[in-house]
């Protein structure tokens, strides 16, 4: 059995260029690995036939970029033309888009090979991928543990070395939190950095697509190709082209780092905190200043997030009504029954709960009491972050409060579920970029991650700090143990 997939993208690229391997070798290896790890349940839909076809087509083409012929997995809420896109929901179980998300067009331009659509929480609503209509994916480090979510499948398939790269989406931590639980690098770029066109909306003002990879450099490389202003998305930002890898390897001496006290308070488990503190010491030793500070409204961010995210979601998900596409209740006696039965049967409990809460929040006077207030405090959160970044280069903290918990553990307590994302949500509220970097392991050998946040559009700096730590920490992030056995 070949092990090309254990090589870095750069190494694979060289082999392809030197014609020592062909894209089909990579595709075959990916599907061997996916099939022998089907118990991880990372994928909802595999794109095997098309991937093989594409790999064969590429044989006659010139290897013109680093991602040429590289397999990639796509979260199943990103629309792929001709390839089923379910959002892990019964309501879209048989939905095959006739259009590509802008990021998919960009991936296709680079001749990457899409191998499948990854498992996730239904409509990205959840933080352990257990709300999936297709059942939860499993953590490659310990199959009894959750992957985190909502981009659980995208995290697990990269962590388990089934695929070298994947795309996830992050509304309130959905890239960074599963990346932390699965021990991979996950970036939520600045809001507006990556086009949302074709990403099935959960909360439009918070959603952002981002890269999930085995290491920092490949993450920066993947962001290089998916970012950019898109005429199809009015919220995408017009920014000059930049190379996100350009600061990798540069000195981090004298960088100023802030740690919000709330992020290291008693909401975080000791094991996670110990690992985090060790990394802080490493940063200090490397010439960084680390200050502990207070940021206003941080502890309210989850509440505010719920109001805004669920309010927007209640509107975004209204279109699934059985009239135009997706699941439709058969032979309804009237319009009312078509609507209610389609949505009652088509949506899972968590989605229905959030739609109901969101509708309530926007109803009548509530809109002013809750939604408007949340929007105004959200502005204040942005401002308090901006103020911190006047003095500091980064804000850091642990990505999650605990390592991945048991998949069997009851996760029906909605408040607790949101606490899973308490450390990552504020970043979405402020539209900032944030990255998870694996920094160590729990005593049960479960990955622990650090969250690095910078001001808007300074992803390159995040990669600089992250790659420094990655190099210093030298962690073996392959859950299969020593891959060169």
């Amino acid at each position: 059995m070949s092990k090309y997939l254990d090589l870095s993208i750069k190494e694979i690229n060289k082999l392809l260029k030197d014609k020592k391997i062909k894209p089909i070798d990579l595709v075959n290896e990916v599907f061997e690995r996916i099939e022998s790890n089907s118990d991880l349940n990372c994928f909802i839909t595999l794109n095997k036939e098309e991937a093989i076809k594409k790999a064969k087509e590429l044989e006659s083409k010139e290897v013109d970029n680093i991602f040429f012929g590289i397999p990639i997995a796509i979260k199943d809420n990103i629309c792929t033309e001709g390839l089923r896109t379910t959002c892990a929901s019964k309501i879209l179980e048989n939905f095959v888009p006739i259009y590509n998300a802008t990021v998919i067009d960009k991936i296709n331009e680079k001749n990457m090979i899409i191998v499948g659509k990854t498992n996730m929480d239904e409509f990205a609503m959840g933080s352990c991928s257990k709300t999936s209509y297709f059942k939860a994916p499993h953590n490659p480090w310990n199959k009894d543990k959750i992957t985190g979510g909502s981009s659980g499948g995208s995290a697990a398939c990269v962590s388990g070395r089934l695929v070298p790269l994947s795309l996830g989406s992050d509304t309130g931590g959905s890239i960074r939190q599963p990346a932390a639980h699965c021990g991979i690098v996950g970036m939520k770029p600045t809001y507006g950095r990556v086009s949302r066109y074709g990403l099935v909306a959960f909360a439009s003002s918070l959603d952002q697509i981002g890269p999930m990879t085995r290491n920092v450099e490949e993450n920066a490389e993947l962001l290089n190709i998916i970012c950019g202003k898109d005429e199809k998305d009015l919220t995408s930002a017009r920014k000059d082209v930049e190379d996100f890898t350009r600061l990798i390897g540069k000195d981090i001496n004298k960088m100023k780092i802030a740690v919000p006290n709330y992020f290291v308070s008693d909401i975080v488990s000791k094991e996670v905190l110990d690992n985090f503190n060790k990394t802080v010491e490493l940063l200090k030793k490397s010439g960084c200043t680390v200050d502990y500070i207070d940021i206003k409204y941080l502890e309210n961010a989850v509440t505010l997030y719920q109001i805004i995210a669920m309010g927007e979601a209640s509107g975004n998900l209204a279109r699934f009504d059985g009239v135009k596409y997706g699941y439709s209740y058969e032979n309804p006696k009237d319009l009312e029954e078509l609507y209610t039965k389609t949505r009652q049967i088509g949506f899972g409990d968590e989605v229905k709960r959030r739609i109901m809460v969101g509708s309530f929040i926007l109803s009548g006077e509530n809109a002013k009491i809750y939604y408007d207030k949340a929007l105004s405090i959200r502005d204040d959160i942005k401002k308090s972050f901006d103020k911190v970044f006047e003095k500091y280069d980064f804000i850091i903290g642990p990505t999650t409060t605990t390592p991945a918990y048991d998949i069997k553990e009851d996760s029906t307590d909605p408040l607790k579920a949101f606490m899973d994302d308490v450390l990552v949500i504020p970043v979405n509220m402020a539209g900032l970029p944030g990255l998870n970097l694996p920094i160590g392991f729990s005593k049960d050998k479960l990955p622990i991650g650090m969250h690095i946040v910078s001001k808007r559009f300074e992803e390159a700096k995040i990669y600089q700090l992250a790659s420094f730590l990655e190099k210093e920490l030298k962690l073996n992030l392959d859950p299969r143990g020593d891959k060169n056995e």
Binding site: A318, D321, K324, L362
Partner: protein, 470 residues
């Protein structure tokens, strides 16, 4: 029963005359085969996002300006949430909190002089799709989904069916002449909903919304019907709940659609997919400067040119004629020009079902022929003779006249004919000098007869009066 006061407020939806839809690049066309002008954005497919058609903002702003509104320079869109199959996303993108224009007015002429109908607001939104109900099935045509609209909401400022009709006629004229909308009620590009209530006191009574009225005159009919119906109920001591009725043009009556139980809860919130739009002073100024000439400005020009009110009315009714006429303002006699356009030329075009651009009547030919008539080189009788040639041949007016062997009568010739007639009809001349102006017509007839119809009647009258004064 006559001491009831009627109160009417009107909501008008007008489709904007853009090439493409408000949030996508599919065509904004009426009358195409069902579901051929639509795409995944109009259909609200998962993951699709709206883009913003700049032309919509410009036309919306124009409309707000001609309605004398204050402009919301920092504006955004909102989502109006409600489930209905004609609403593809089950929310409509509209403007709730920051309508593009507020506090405007439209001035109408009433029997008691001018009256300002206040405009509460004008906002931009997307149209829904069209549903057609057939027996047990409903069909949806998404060609209309995402067509840009402005909704114009008045205060309850109208007190009669007549005032409502006048308001709508004025509004239609304003939007039409600003090139904002083609305002074709029969095609649904202008739709009116009226809120009508009657009361004996200053306190307003329960209002009834009437929808689905297919013409401006039927708005009047519907309001009168509602006045009678509501007054009859109150006179019987009955009351009723706030309700929506539709106008039925077969029975010319209103029919109950639904009773409004509670206030509608549309759960409005700011549209997160469309950033705020800032209308700069410069943009507003530029938009204002580029608004085509209004009907009132045109009326003023025509009045100054001496065109009679009836003809002015006819010209304003026909934007094409007005635009054509305006090309020649200050260059030719507009009275003559408008008489031709509304008279012989209109008859010719109607007969052949043509528009002026389809004919060979170039601007040069039109200017020449009007000037010849003006200076008396030809008269209207001759014009009729050469009309077909003007419209159908490539020849110039001079060539046409030559071909018809029509020679211009010199002024000397004309004067000598007039003098002859005066000399040989001394009784009529004396009558005229004694104040009987009617004999002028008789003298005119005699002169025209002598000229063989080759003289311009206006010129003849002018010269005749001059010579009679000697």
């Amino acid at each position: 029963m006559n001491n009831y006061k009627t109160t009417v407020g009107i909501e008008v939806h007008a489709e904007l005359k853009t090439k493409t839809k408000i949030f996508s690049d599919s065509a904004n066309h009426y009358g195409k085969m069902a579901n051929t002008c639509t795409n995944v954005i109009d259909l609200g497919y998962p993951g699709t996002l709206p883009t913003m058609n700049e032309e919509v903002i410009r036309l919306g702003l124009r409309a707000a300006l001609v309605l004398n509104c204050e402009i919301n320079k920092h504006m955004h869109f909102d989502r109006k949430n409600y489930f209905y199959p004609d609403n593809p996303k089950n929310y409509q993108i509209t403007q709730n909190r920051t309508p593009i224009g507020v506090n405007g007015y439209v001035e109408i002429d009433t029997d008691n002089g001018k009256k300002k109908i206040r405009i509460h607001d004008i906002h931009i939104e997307e149209d829904t799709c069209k549903s057609i109900h057939a027996e047990k099935k409903s069909m949806l045509d998404y060609n209309r989904a995402g067509v840009p609209l402005v909704e114009i909401v008045t205060e309850a400022d109208m007190n009669s069916a007549e005032e409502a009709v006048k308001y709508l006629e004025k509004l239609r004229e304003l939007l039409l002449y600003a090139d904002v909308s083609d305002c074709k009620i029969e095609e649904g590009s202008m739709r009116c909903d009226c809120n009508v209530s009657v009361s004996k006191t200053d306190k307003l009574n329960t209002k009834v919304e009437v929808k689905n009225i297919g013409s401006i005159s039927n708005v009047g009919v519907a309001i009168k019907y509602e006045e009678d119906r509501q007054i009859a109920l109150y006179e019987k001591g009955e009351t009723f709940k706030e309700q929506t009725r539709r106008f039925d043009d077969k029975t010319m009556s209103t029919i109950l659609m639904r009773v409004k139980e509670t206030g509608n809860d549309y759960r409005y919130f700011p549209e997160p997919d469309i950033p705020f739009i800032d209308l700069t002073e410069e943009y507003i100024k530029e938009t204002k400067e580029n608004i085509p000439m209004s009907a009132d400005e045109r009326r003023e020009i025509y009045r100054k040119a001496g065109i009679n009110e009836i003809n002015i009315g006819k010209i304003i009714q026909n934007r094409t004629i007005s635009d054509y006429l305006n090309k020649f303002n200050n260059r030719i006699n507009l009275v003559i020009a408008s008489n031709l356009l509304l008279g012989d030329i209109a008859a010719y075009l109607n007969k052949y079902e043509m528009v002026l651009e389809d004919t060979k009547c170039t601007d040069e030919k039109f200017i020449d022929v009007v000037n010849y008539l003006d200076k008396g080189k030809i008269n209207s009788k001759i014009f009729k003779v050469i009309l077909d040639d003007i419209m159908e041949s490539d020849s110039s007016i001079d060539e046409i006249l030559e071909n018809h062997n029509i020679k211009e009568m010199s002024e000397e010739e004309l004067i000598s004919i007039i003098e002859n007639v005066i000399d040989s009809n001394s009784k009529m001349v004396n009558d005229y000098k004694n104040g009987n102006e009617r004999v002028l017509k008789g003298l005119m007839g005699l002169i025209m007869k002598e000229t063989g119809g080759n003289a311009n009647p206006e010129l003849v009258t002018k010269k005749l009066v001059e010579l009679l004064k000697k």
